[in-house]
Amino acid sequence: MRDSVLRHSDDELADAIRHAYAAYAAPASSTLGRRRLLRFGPIAAAPLAIGVVAAAVFVAGTVFAPPSAFGTWTATPSSPNPALVASVRDGCLPPPGPDWTTEDRANAADLATLPLVILDQRGRGAVALFAERRADGQASLMCLSAADDDGQVRAGGGGSSTGARETPAIGPLRLFTAQRNGSEWGTYTAYAGSVEPGVTQVTVERNSGSGVIASVANGYFLAWWPGDAYATSIIAYGAGGVALAEIGNNGWDFLDEDPDPSPGFITPEPSATSGE
């Protein structure tokens, strides 16, 4: 009798999960909908509250959106746009809002202290990486930004973490964040990690079939691309183009919080590191 739960099939367990969560219903009239409905005036019929929000999104998207940060993307990074370097920090850190808690403000203040280590420029868009190794792990802040034709910088979404887990060092290569973030230009995916001196280039192979050359600077690497392709392999190269290390994604999920022990780690061949 004690094993009866174990005997239940996956389908029965799935049905039970659906049943358990069926009690949660979407709020009938959201705060967002009410607020915008009042702002734009009353309109009849149930789905029209959605329509009002849609209109707001559409207008914002067509009138105020700058040229896409994605359309000019390149697989090889270019020199950072000085305008972005100068202002990306302000663009990436949102100004405190009235609903921010004390903890929100403290977290933002903490993130504001991180140094800019890479600005990975690809066409008009660039992803900035602010990072610092701390006693409790790697702290980082990443965000996408782009400058419009007038030089005005717009930040388009990113993510941050403190005390982040890192992959074990594979030779001179570690990965500490893999993110897929929303932005006003669409989804982008980014991978960042640290490298030891001697690494001159890092490449990222993707499930989409094409590779990306990462930016390498200040002991870190970063690569990003529009869309949601994921990395299948990250390879570090040294002088003369010698492969020093590879982190393979052999079925392992970079984004998993608690991955199974390292099925994807590929230690470098002795000949690759020794140069034999």
């Binding site: 979407a26 967002l32 959605i50 919080e257």
Partner: protein
């Protein structure tokens, strides 16, 4: 005055809609039907993936707003629900919104007539799964997406989706046993 109202009303009833009006009406009806069917599963999916009722509500609202704004294209998508899920999940993971903290505990579960003893524990155990496992459970089970579609939505291989689901269900079984729950369906 009544006569005038009746005359106006009669005149409006007899006027045939223009093609544009007819299309708008058809689009609204089509969207309304989709909205009615997809809203609740999508909300529950976002609730589980974000662990925040507020984030889930905002993300679902925004996703439907975008779907409405581009309904002609979205309705022609082979899987509009997956499209919506992608938009909602992107919304929920943007830096600006993610700073709001996840709720460590699930919100109070409204009582229902067909409640089972296992329901509350199941909700809690799913809530406490690692992020990726929650995403997979939400997309595969609550939103009824295929393994391939779930993989596409999360940017992981189908085999990885299967592995996450297997681990999640294994954790659920273990946790239910630890809680002394032996049957899923008895009242």
């Amino acid at each position: 005055m009544e006569a005038m109202d009746r005359t106006l009303g009669a005149g409006m009833e007899s006027a045939a809609p223009t093609p544009a009006e007819a299309k708008l009406t058809a689009d609204q009806e089509s969207f309304s039907a989709f909205y009615a069917g997809a809203r609740e599963p999508l909300y529950r999916t976002l609730l589980v993936t974000t662990r925040s009722p507020e984030l889930a509500e905002d993300a679902v609202h925004e996703a439907f707003a975008r779907a409405f704004a581009d309904w002609e294209r979205v309705s022609a998508h082979p899987n509009p629900t997956a499209w919506l899920a992608r938009v909602a999940m992107n919304q929920a993971t943007s830096w600006w919104r993610r700073r709001r903290r996840e709720c460590p505990d699930p919100p109070d579960r409204p009582a229902r007539a067909d409640d089972r003893p296992v329901d509350a524990e199941l909700v809690r155990v799913v809530w406490e799964l690692p992020t990726r496992q929650r995403q997979v459970v939400a997309l595969r089970i609550l939103l009824d997406q295929s393994t391939d579609e779930t993989g596409r939505l999360l940017g992981i291989a189908p085999g990885t989706v299967t592995a996450h689901l297997h681990r999640a269900l294994g954790t659920l079984r273990s946790r239910l046993l630890e809680a002394g729950i032996e049957e899923l369906t008895n009242a």
